[in-house]
Symmetry: C2
Subunit: 352 residues, 2 copies
């Protein structure tokens, strides 16, 4: 199969490297065109194209990999590729969370597949596991740590750094972006939990409705106090369905020390789902990074190549509960809780 890549950054170049290796091992996979900004031309030589239509309208190309990030431009590229009967594989959670229903319908119409394993949890095979599990299980609860940057920061604060130093360390190691707002305020996890909920509940969540409360006000003292009382602060996303009522939230939550979430450290992610047939199923792994994300894209390419891909049913109408009814608590020095004053930093307590 012939592949065109849009976006030759950390992920796009990782995908090309993996496919080149497979191609050298005589597997029927080959990157034949790459679209990016003109300054990549020298590096890409004859593979370079300066217009994405040279990929989406290219008669020889079977699969378009979108690895650019952002919304507007990727949205046009993906739509154009699907309309031209190319399979699409993307790692872009923003565009997936905003348009999954449209992409899924367009793919079905054009008898090609739209795949997005790499958009949530990097190398953790959560998307395709959910799609398969959904056939035999009624999932009603999903929660976990789906942002490596903020989990890294919280772990470092626990180890003794201040918030600012922990953030700087994350930036130095490439885990946090120069502008870390989407991570710190929870928007990144809003997108990811929305995508997982779409699949699990057979519906399409409006990401703009999802409540999120960030970790910016957190202090080293709060985390120390929690630890002394056998608790660990984690920044998580959570989604529930009961009958047709769905609620989603992203916020800081306190867990008991021996919980699997509490023991998910540094840049690792952990996602747990519960349903009628499976009491509790947890997946833990690195949620980002060039190689894990690129290999998730390659995994999707193999699902297409081996004729193992599926369409989604996103047709269920649900009622979105905007109001979250959790009790928010502040942790007192003696380890007891009191009702939180909204001007202080507060967290929910997850007692499981």
């Amino acid at each position: 199969m012939k592949i065109g890549i849009c976006g030759y950054g950390v992920i796009g170049s990782g995908v090309k490297k993996l496919i080149d290796e497979k191609h050298q091992n005589n597997e029927d996979l080959e990157v034949i065109k790459v679209f990016d900004k003109p300054f990549k031309k020298d590096e890409l030589k004859e593979l370079y194209v300066n217009d994405y239509k040279k990929i989406t309208e290219n008669k020889d190309i079977d699969i378009v990999v979108e690895a650019m990030g952002g919304d507007k431009f990727p949205y046009e590229i993906i739509k154009d590729a699907l309309k031209n009967k190319k399979h699409v594989v993307t790692s872009n959670k923003e565009v997936v969370s905003l348009h999954l229903d449209e992409f899924n319908s367009l793919a079905k119409e054009n008898k090609v597949y739209f795949m997005f394993e790499a958009s949530v949890g990097g190398g953790i095979p959560i998307i395709n596991s959910l799609i398969q599990n959904r056939k035999v299980n009624e999932i009603n609860h999903i929660y976990g740590i789906l942002n490596g940057t903020t989990n890294f920061i919280l772990t470092k604060i626990e180890e003794g750094l201040s918030f600012d130093d922990a953030l700087k360390e994350a930036q130095r190691l490439g885990f946090a972006e120069a502008d870390p707002t989407a991570d710190l305020e929870g928007l990144d996890m809003v997108r990811k939990i929305s995508i997982l909920s779409d699949i699990a509940y057979n519906t399409f969540i409006d990401v703009n409705k999802v409540e999120h409360r960030g970790i910016k006000g957190i202090t080293k003292e709060f985390i120390e106090k929690a630890n002394k009382n056998g608790l660990v602060l984690k920044f998580i996303c959570e989604s529930k369905i009961k009958d047709n009522y769905v609620s989603l939230i992203v916020e800081p939550v306190l867990f008991k020390k021996d919980n699997i979430i509490s023991n998910t450290k540094n840049e690792f992610n952990c996602v747990i789902f519960e349903g009628k047939s499976n009491d509790k199923l947890a997946f833990v792994g690195k949620g980002a990074g060039s190689l894990p994300t690129a290999s998730a894209i390659l995994s999707d390419i193999y699902l297409i190549k081996d004729n193992n891909a599926n369409y989604l049913d996103l047709s269920k109408k649900v009622v979105y509960c905007e109001k979250n009814d959790n009790d928010y608590l502040e942790l007192c020095d003696d380890g007891t809780f009191k009702k939180a004053k909204k001007e202080n930093f507060y967290a929910r307590v997850f007692m499981e």
Copy 2:
């Protein structure tokens, strides 16, 4: 698709219940014959057959579910079903670990599929995740807790019970069999780690070669001493490959308290695999039970129905290292270790 079930115990009857529900929802799945001992005849009425050949040679049946357990009889049934061009789905780790290569070849020859997700880790989707991950990753290390019975016993000892009382409690709750030898001596995990290694390393492991050392000599005092020193005793299986050299072992191992393995409690299983593209990927969930295991079988049925199944490549020749070169240590009262005397209970220390 028409389904025949061989073995109507906890798992087989669970599968029938799930398929009946799907059938009532107008899905194209139906159980039309069930084979078991004569005393099930009254319960099964017109579905009952007294000879497995009435299932394996039945022209209307597309899929045979083998849920009997044991080796000899299931081996004959599975072979016969595959030769008669029926897909086979099983939860029987014994027969899978002993004959996977033969079943895989027979399936390929007859253009049907042999599926066994339910044989390892109950409802945890580890087998099909490994099969998919294997296409894009070079896996070199697999380890974890794959026996719920012994993990339950160790957890209860940690909570204060004696070994004998913990075993009785496991039997009372239905986690341990009347004869728990295969669990306690590690044979159950030998089978499971062999199956996972077959898939991950594209080879076929001789289960009879795998070293295993059980937990029978364990005392409450040993576990208490470990806990006081920040360690947790777990009964695990482990498999490694380097170049073409493979080693497998099942034995008690000490882990640090904040490890994901240490925090896998009661009847939960945890399996971790590491490879070239994925640093570390962990799956945690209930490893047994009627509903999780039956839903894993149903999941395989959907992979066949949706044309999403695959064949395995088990052709790689590896050198099996019988000698395990781990250092075994006894835990001293002061938290230091000394080289183990083989007459005492000893454990390896996993320092990660």
